[in-house]
Amino acid sequence: MSTMINSSLRAVLTVMRRELSGYFSTPVAWVFIVIFLVMSGAFTFYIGSFFERGNADLAPFFQFNPWLYLFLVPAIAMRLWAEERRSGTIELLLTLPLTTGQAVLGKFLAAWLFIGLALLLTFPIWLTVNYLGEPDNGIIVAGYIGSWLMAGGFLAIGSCISALTRNQVVAFILTVVVCFGFMLSGLPMVMNLFTGWAPQALLDVIADFSFLAHFASISKGVIDLRDLVYFALVITFWLAANTIVLELKKAN
């Protein structure tokens, strides 16, 4: 039993390593990291009025974080499977002695770790706030964890959609739209589509789907198990869907 778990884990890690090394042998990684850092800085210091607020926290940083993800995470996710399909390597990968689930998980983890790395590289912002004042670093750590989990949610959606098409642009646009829906599902803009005809129970569920709501509570330093479970479920659900999509749509 444990050897089975071991070999599955190794299979996942093998796929992950390959995928991750792929990022760094092309300009994708560097372009992504630089843009993510520049944009994070710009949003935090200029639009977020980091200095003018006079508060020793990273609220302006985390406030714009989801909006950056909305466009940058789909840019990473779009190539996950669409590129394998376009280049034909999907046939190579899925005829190796690995399960589809292991391949999906390996590729997802690579992209997630990569985004995690980009997120860690924003540490100068954290250094700045510690230099200027005495922030509650517990809240900031919680914010980073929440942010990474949310990125995982976006990424799982993008990975699944990327498996639907060989066209990366299509994958990108669809992912942005779906992620946007998930982000805002608690806001009137999305809720208005449902109020009036949907039962209250469904409305509550939809409202509860909002990435922003769950992220907001974590980034305030409240690590509620329900929020963690929520992101874990979102990721699991979309990766399972991703696996099923691949099983059904391998050929074209």
């Binding site: 093998t14 390959r18 280049s87 034909g88 046939e91 190579l92 005829t95 190796l96 002695p97 099983e247």
Partner: protein
């Protein structure tokens, strides 16, 4: 235990309403080099994709080396080396890194994985380019990388989808040599629409069209079924006059004149070459070419797959 074989049992694949492979059943044993022949879209690739576990059959199954491709897919895949059509590879990786990835994915660890990759590099003569990214290589080298990843784990079964397609004659020759080298101890299945390849490589050929198995024979057997088998072709001055003389021959069934070449087809059981070469000498015809036809594979192929050429 000589369980080493492929056994396809009524393999079928539908894409919506399209029937790509229709109840295909066959067995391949050790030492056989089987050529899948067929026009484009005949179902060759689909069949290979099912055997290698990429596509799930709509119905039917296959057993590879004792492992069912549906029930026991991973074990079946372990005993297969597969070169997909076009030899896809992760282009940004170096040849060595790519092969090391394949080795790890095939369950080799640490030092072992490095050794397997190095051995495959040596076997396929890739030692000049191991650190180059795959995408910068020529087509011939890329194909060798594809073959290297297929044979890396020394599989019992090799499945190669159009291994020489798109290569120049030298590269084709090279790839064929490599395949022939490996053929003694393995089952090899290749698909191709190049007929010469079947003659050059295979000891068994299956012609597939519209997803159905039409012919299963040795290449020699295929050629013998050609209407050109044992016919005599000559290039001669005044071919019309010679043709009319030859058509009087009792041993000749038919005489055809096409593009300056005169072909005489034998009646069943007759041989013509001796008779005609004697006649040439006796009549003093000025012949620039005289040959005995072995048979024409392309003509058999067209006849089987389209029924276009009548007997």
């Amino acid at each position: 235990m000589s369980e080493l074989r492929i056994e396809a049992r009524s393999l079928s694949k539908h894409y919506g309403n399209l029937l790509a492979v229709d109840e295909l059943s066959f067995e391949v044993g050790s030492g056989e080099v089987l050529g899948f022949l067929g026009p484009n879209g005949a179902g060759k690739s689909t069949t290979m994709k099912m055997l290698t576990g990429f596509l799930t059959p709509t119905s039917g199954t296959a057993v590879i080396n004792g492992h069912d491709i549906i029930e026991d897919s991973l074990a079946a895949r372990r005993s297969i080396g597969y070169l997909p059509e076009g030899a896809p590879a992760y282009g940004e990786m170096s040849v060595r890194k790519f092969l090391e990835f394949i080795a790890r994915a095939r369950g080799f660890r640490g030092r072992d994985a490095l050794d397997k990759a190095a051995a495959a590099i040596e076997r396929l003569n890739l030692d000049k380019v191991p650190e180059q990214p795959v995408e910068t290589l020529s087509k011939g080298f890329k194909r060798r990388v594809g073959l290297a990843q297929a044979i890396l784990h020394d599989p019992e079964v090799l499945i190669l989808d159009e291994p020489t397609d798109g290569l120049d004659p030298n590269q084709k020759h090279e790839v064929r040599r490599l395949i022939r080298e490996m053929s003694s101890e393995k089952i090899i299945v290749i698909s191709t629409h190049v007929l010469e390849e079947v003659q050059a490589l295979c000891n068994r050929a299956m012609i597939i069209s519209d997803g159905r198995l039409l012919v299963d024979d040795t290449p020699a057997g295929l050629i013998a079924s050609s209407r050109y088998h044992n016919a005599v072709t000559l290039v001669v001055e005044q071919p019309e006059r010679v043709a009319s003389v030859l058509s009087e021959l009792g041993q000749a069934r038919k005489v055809e004149l096409r593009e300056g070449e005169l072909t005489v087809f034998p009646a069943p059981g007759e041989s013509l070459f001796e008779v005609i070469s004697d006649m040439v000498r006796e009549n003093g015809w000025s012949v620039s070419e005289l040959r005995l036809e072995a048979g024409r594979l392309d003509e058999v192929f067209r006849q089987v797959t389209t029924g276009e050429v009548g007997k």
